[in-house]
Symmetry: none
Subunit: 228 residues, 4 copies
């Protein structure tokens, strides 16, 4: 059921439309308008889903937020599920992109590198409401395993893999007092999830500072002294 039913022709078509813009502009719908319509729908859908969750969202509600007719979203997404999956997926894919591109400086300690990159990522997360997306994926994960998979592939595993890759390096560099991070890479990102859960779901009124919590954990694992 979840099968997102992608409409991969979309991007291609719009490019084609883009090109044909200069050539033939005699009649027919404007490709700009089309792109704009789709963007409106996607934006509206994300807002609706974040507000109400999948089950309580309605296509009519999305259409209204987007300022289009009720049937219009169906031109871009075949079903409500496809809309949900498409919108969330779009939000997820490439979200991490830039961050993992970062390269550790020649003399940079692993700890400093992780602090630098992950704090940036955390800032991103907080700023762009990505934590809300994470919550949405978690919340709808049972119904949309495919989404969770994407999330894992695009966000969760890459970060974990990065840690798994860097931990031995740090150990070799004498930054780690023991093999704990190598054996339990999850330990380093646990505070981030603790923070997201607390701030998004458990205790919205007393949010904790995720960045600070993560830093404390980082220092804890990297034996504290070896900072640079």
């Amino acid at each position: 059921m979840p099968k997102p039913k992608q409409t991969p022709a979309k991007t291609l078509t719009s490019n084609a439309a883009q090109r044909s813009k200069r050539v033939t502009r005699a009649r027919g719908p404007s490709p700009d308008k089309t792109a704009h319509t789709k963007a409106s729908i996607v934006r509206a859908a994300l807002a609706e889903f974040l507000d109400k969750g999948f089950a309580d969202s309605t296509i009519a509600g999305v259409a209204q937020r987007a300022g289009v007719a009720k049937g219009t979203p169906y031109r871009y997404f075949a079903t409500k599920e496809a809309l949900f999956a498409g919108v969330v997926q779009q939000e997820l894919v490439g979200a991490l992109g830039e961050i993992l591109e970062e390269r550790r400086g020649r003399d940079e300690s692993v700890q400093a590198f992780l602090r630098r990159t992950l704090l940036i990522a955390l800032g991103e997360i907080e700023r762009k409401g990505r934590a809300a997306i994470a919550r949405l994926v978690i919340v709808e994960g049972v119904r949309f395993p495919a989404l969770v998979e994407i999330y894992r592939r695009e966000m969760f595993d890459p970060v974990l893999d990065q840690i798994k890759r860097l931990a031995p390096v740090a150990r070799r560099r004498g930054e780690l007092p023991d093999d704990r991070l190598i054996r339990h890479p999850h330990l380093l990102i646990a505070p981030v999830w603790m923070g997201i859960l607390n701030n998004q779901l458990i205790d919205r009124e007393h949010p904790i500072d995720i960045a600070r919590l993560f830093e404390a954990q980082l220092e804890l694992m990297f034996s504290g002294e070896a900072q640079r």
Copy 2:
């Protein structure tokens, strides 16, 4: 109108009720059967909600699982929402009870005490499917803030308070190398949540050993040596 008519401490009391029969009720349906019916419904409802989440569960489905007619659950819970809340609440309340009753032995280190009690609690969690309940609360939390509140009151805050209370003691006893745990009590339970999230939602196929993860964090924070 349905007024669930609590039959507190069901199994035990029902026998007593049998005996006191002539006092309260000389005729009419058996209270035993009632208790049994309600228990069936609650059990079925929990299973249904865990399987499908709130929105995709149906009262008919619950009734079918419980082997009763479609209207029967309404005798015990006025609405689908009440059924959900009631079932989850019943599962949560008192769940921590015994654990928090545990007293630290005169010579017992704080670390040993926490290891002992929280590992027991973790065992409970894994054994009784409480992790699934936690997931359910998280997943439906947006729609049922009241449930989240119960969860916070009955589970989350008590554990956190325990940590907040014990951290200074441990510090005084020389078990902690710094004030980290005092400033960031969430840090100690973060691995537990990390584990629940990973095992219940993100990567069911590669579950991590939550107890071991927690132990690692415990040792990490308690400077490792001071164990007893």
Copy 3:
């Protein structure tokens, strides 16, 4: 469907029970209690039906008002419809009884006789809430043609017949200036219905004095002077 399904054994049985009272009173249910229970139910049912009409009344509501269990009314009336019909019918039958027994005095004018008897009847109507019953019959008449028939037979037609019988007499006695009442016997009772409709349904806040309205009509038809 309306078929009231009478339980005519009732009265007989209770008499039998009455008699056996003095004889055997060793065990078994008390007939007094039974009669009392039934009376409670009938009273409660009437109140419920007057309050809410047939469709919105519930057996549970009737039982609650009567202070009995939900199943108990079924011991006296097979269905909800039978309960309704039985209750209303019981309220109607014999309601006119005494009034129609009244005999015109030897020297009494027809007008005086009608004034005397019908004013008594009107008093009855107002006092005992019979107008509400009339309204109920009117309101539920489409669903319960049988009830309407009873009403017509027990209330409407007898009064009309009385008028039809007396009109020629009055004409002969010189009390009537023309044949109008003979040709239009409905004319005399029209003001009563006008009053019931107005007071019960159309304008409860400005009730009109039905007795006075009827008197005015009476005098109007009886040419005013010929009173005795």
Copy 4:
């Protein structure tokens, strides 16, 4: 949400709308069809309600009569109650309109004027099934006080006010032998209600001629001779 989107003065306007097409709506479903659908529903609903009363009518039944799907009525009326109220109200408002516009001729007696106008009104009532509407309002009045109020405001009170206004005029013109009509204006319309009740509810098999009954009352009150 449904917002009935009034299409006032349907038939006439729709042509105009056709022409103004390019202004308001370039595409999409036909407004004609819409108007037709709504009219079907309203007609079907009125029939259903007259047949069965409010409680026994079903939306599915209305839809079936109208030849539309079960959900369609909800596009025009948010609830079953709204459908009922809307349909009946529409039937009531303006029903009297034309009649009360009638002006009494310079030399016309009040009696002649009342006879002329009210007999027309009665004809209307009988012809268009307005008596059935009156019955419906009466029958459902307890549940829909608002409807009764409309009825009173639109039908009942205007007629009564007319009588109250004309009675003194007639008295001054010497058409009335006494003050009876002034003190009891209800008396004049009582026969009409008597007739409606008899014909619609009490004795459908022996309907009385309401117009004739009313005329008799009119002559009775206007002392018979003063006719012109």
